[in-house]
């Protein structure tokens, strides 16, 4: 009886396993504020952290640095290059970066990276795809610039006339 139960449990875990890779089923992530406030507590532990990729993916041999911003701070992630292949958008003025969830080991002063506070990634999941953010010209700003240009020209002409 016991053996049959274990078999069912193993089967259930195997079936449910891929569900953990689907957005929304990932383990609860820890915020950057929490990591920075209680870095000693999390030091050397496996944690989960979520944020938008900002800047760019900086390749270093078979690894890469990416920086994930969770709205408060950005934290550096040291990840195998193969895990970063799926990153399409990185946050900048013209784009909103992909939102990733990293699972890995948190280091408050990483011995491999000169004392940096970082996370060594074991898995990276794309939670949300980024996108380009096309610029729409602000008509108020455009009009203000034109009006001020007109006033400036008027003052310039007036000063020329006054000089005469």
């Amino acid at each position: 009886m016991k053996t049959r139960n274990i078999k069912w449990i193993v089967l259930a875990i195997l079936l449910a396993g891929p569900v953990y890779l689907i957005p929304g089923f990932a383990a609860e992530s820890i915020s950057s504020a929490e990591l920075l406030s209680n870095s000693k507590h999390y030091d050397g532990k496996q944690i989960s952290y979520r944020g938008e990729v900002i800047g760019e993916v900086m390749k270093r041999g078979d690894f890469a640095w990416i920086n994930l911003h969770d709205g408060e701070n950005a934290i550096g992630i040291w990840a195998p290059l193969s895990l970063t292949k799926g990153i399409v958008y990185t946050g900048s003025y013209k784009a909103r970066g992909d939102v990733l969830e990293v699972s890995g080991i948190f280091n408050r002063a990483c011995s491999e990276h000169g004392g940096d506070l970082d996370i060594h990634a074991q898995t990276l999941l794309k939670i949300e795809s980024g996108k380009l953010t096309p610029e729409i010209i602000n008509p108020v700003k455009r009009n203000q610039a034109l009006i001020l240009l007109g006033v400036l020209l008027l003052v310039w002409i007036l000063t020329l006339l006054l000089r005469k």
Binding site: I54, N67, A74, Y93, A109, G115, L117, A145, L152
Partner: protein, 500 residues
């Protein structure tokens, strides 16, 4: 009896202030050009609006207050102190229009922080900022570091006498060349030569570290301007942590130290007098001071036990000491780590470094090494007087470009400015404590603001009280101008109200 300022005083101040405003407004053509090239139209419009406002204001001031008279000392000092305040308001316009600052006060805070080469920041969502605005944040450090007035001196203002008064008002009293306009141009020449070299080095390191060539170049330019002008802004929210590069950190350490040296010393190095580096009282004092404060920080960090390896000590401990001592404010640790992971002794070491500063006639703030050296020499002289027989003639000399005999007036001046800085540091700390921040944290942030450093232990944030923001703005302003121009301005207003 206090004399009320007359119409001529106001006209002279207005006329020269107008010229400086025109000069500043024209510098906004640079971000406009960048905005157009990078196809960032809204940011370019922000700068176009601000340029037009600046030109309007400047042209009207020069026309209404037109005068052919040269400035006297009082007028020169007032022009300088008002120029810095006006620059803050003008530069804050495009920053506020960008939407990256929660209020105009916050934009003014960052504007003053930039011009005064401090580096404390209240910016929001920096990682999504346009290249145009990001370049401007760093450009104002370059302009402020060389001296706002220096731009005007170099291009707009004729007449050596008036020019020298403006130059001195901006906390620079050393002539590198006989003519003050030539001195200003030499400062620009040195800065631009280093800009090209420094940008190249940082760009190459960035590109080798995995950055795309254009990004590496852009970051190289910005970080160089912030490092050489001992400013402390960086293009990304993580500051120097973002680059994750030992080579990048070493390069910025070298640039920060170059920025903390006297421009007069740069001149002597340029003309081949390299021995001046080891003989000069400022460099000797800076070397001893860095070693001393690093020893304090190292003991503190050893006690805290956070960095067990020598490389970590260098990249975290030594880097923060150099950044603080040169008044730059670059950080390779998060602000929260100062408070949560460093112990009080290490924090005191960094506060000392920030409070001492670099060389006079450089881009650093704080007390500065020449004054510390002079005070130390005066102590030595007094000790000699006590030890030696009464009839002995005690003479103390120091080397600063040439051999100089120590005089009481030099010691008095050095002690007065040192005292003024100490009062400013503790006054800011006191106001911070009124808002409930712990003493050491308040002193850390206050010293950082008044010494124009930019390291933060976390107090500086958009959510901090408005009074504290204004306090830090005033500290940055007074600290950068070394008090004299600010005191003259206060005196001017008092005379206008109560004079006869």
């Amino acid at each position: 009896m206090i004399l009320k300022p007359n119409r001529q005083d106001i006209k002279a101040v207005g006329y020269y202030l107008g010229k400086i405003i025109i000069g500043l407004a024209l510098t906004m053509a640079i971000p406009i050009l960048i905005g157009l090239l990078a196809q960032e139209i809204n940011p370019a419009l922000d700068f176009l609006i601000s340029l037009e406002i600046g030109l309007l204001f400047g042209v009207m001031l020069t026309k209404v207050c037109y005068t052919e008279r040269e400035l006297n000392w009082m007028q020169g000092m007032i022009v300088v102190s008002l120029a810095w305040v006006t620059a803050m308001f003008l530069s804050a316009i495009p920053m506020y229009l960008s939407g990256h600052w929660k209020s105009y006060l916050d934009a003014c805070f960052d504007s003053m922080s930039g011009f005064a080469t401090t580096g404390l920041t209240l910016v929001q969502n920096l990682d999504h900022m346009s290249l145009t605005h990001n370049l401007w944040r760093h450009l104002i450090m370059f302009i402020g570091g060389q001296g706002i007035v220096i731009i005007a001196l170099s291009f707009f203002i004729k007449g050596a006498s008036g020019a020298f008064k403006l130059y001195v008002g901006e906390a620079r009293d050393e002539r590198i060349m006989p003519n003050i306009v030539h001195t200003s141009r030499f400062i620009w020449l040195v800065s631009i030569a280093y800009l090209i070299l420094g940008t190249l080095v940082l760009s190459v390191i960035g590109a080798l570290g995995g950055m795309k060539p254009f990004n590496a170049f852009f970051h190289g330019v910005c970080v160089f301007m912030a490092a050489f002008d001992t400013g402390g802004f960086a293009p990304q929210s993580q500051n120097i942590i973002y680059y994750r590069s030992f080579a990048f950190e070493v390069a910025t350490i070298i640039i920060m130290i170059l920025g903390a040296l006297n421009f007069r010393l740069h001149y002597h190095i340029w003309v081949g007098n390299r021995k001046e580096i080891v003989k000069n009282i400022e460099t000797v004092t800076l070397f001893i001071s860095i070693l001393t404060v690093f020893a304090i920080v190292a003991i503190g960090l050893k006690q805290a036990g956070i960095y067990p390896q020598a490389v970590m000590f260098f990249r975290k401990g030594f880097y923060q000491v150099i950044s603080g001592h040169t008044g730059t404010g670059f950080q390779t640790i998060y602000a929260q780590q100062f408070v949560n992971e460093w112990n009080n002794l290490a924090l005191v070491g960094v506060i000392l470094a920030m409070g001492l500063g670099g060389a006079v006639c450089s881009t650093t703030g704080a007390i500065k090494m020449l004054r510390i050296g002079i005070i130390f020499k005066a102590f030595l002289e007094d000790i000699k007087r006590i030890i030696l027989p009464e009839r002995a003639v005690v003479i103390q000399k120091f080397h600063h470009i040439k051999e100089v005999f120590l005089e009481d007036k030099q010691v008095r001046s050095a002690l007065l400015i040192t005292l003024a800085y100490l009062i400013l540091y503790f006054l800011g700390a006191y106001i911070g404590m009124l808002y409930g921040y712990p003493f050491l944290n308040s002193l850390f942030e206050s010293t950082s603001a008044a010494g124009n450093v930019g390291l933060s232990c976390g107090i500086t944030a958009a959510s901090m009280p408005a009074v504290l923001k204004i306090t830090y703005i005033l500290q940055m302003w007074a600290g950068r101008l070394e008090f004299m121009s600010v005191f003259t301005l206060i005196g001017f207003f008092v005379a206008a109200l109560e004079g006869k």
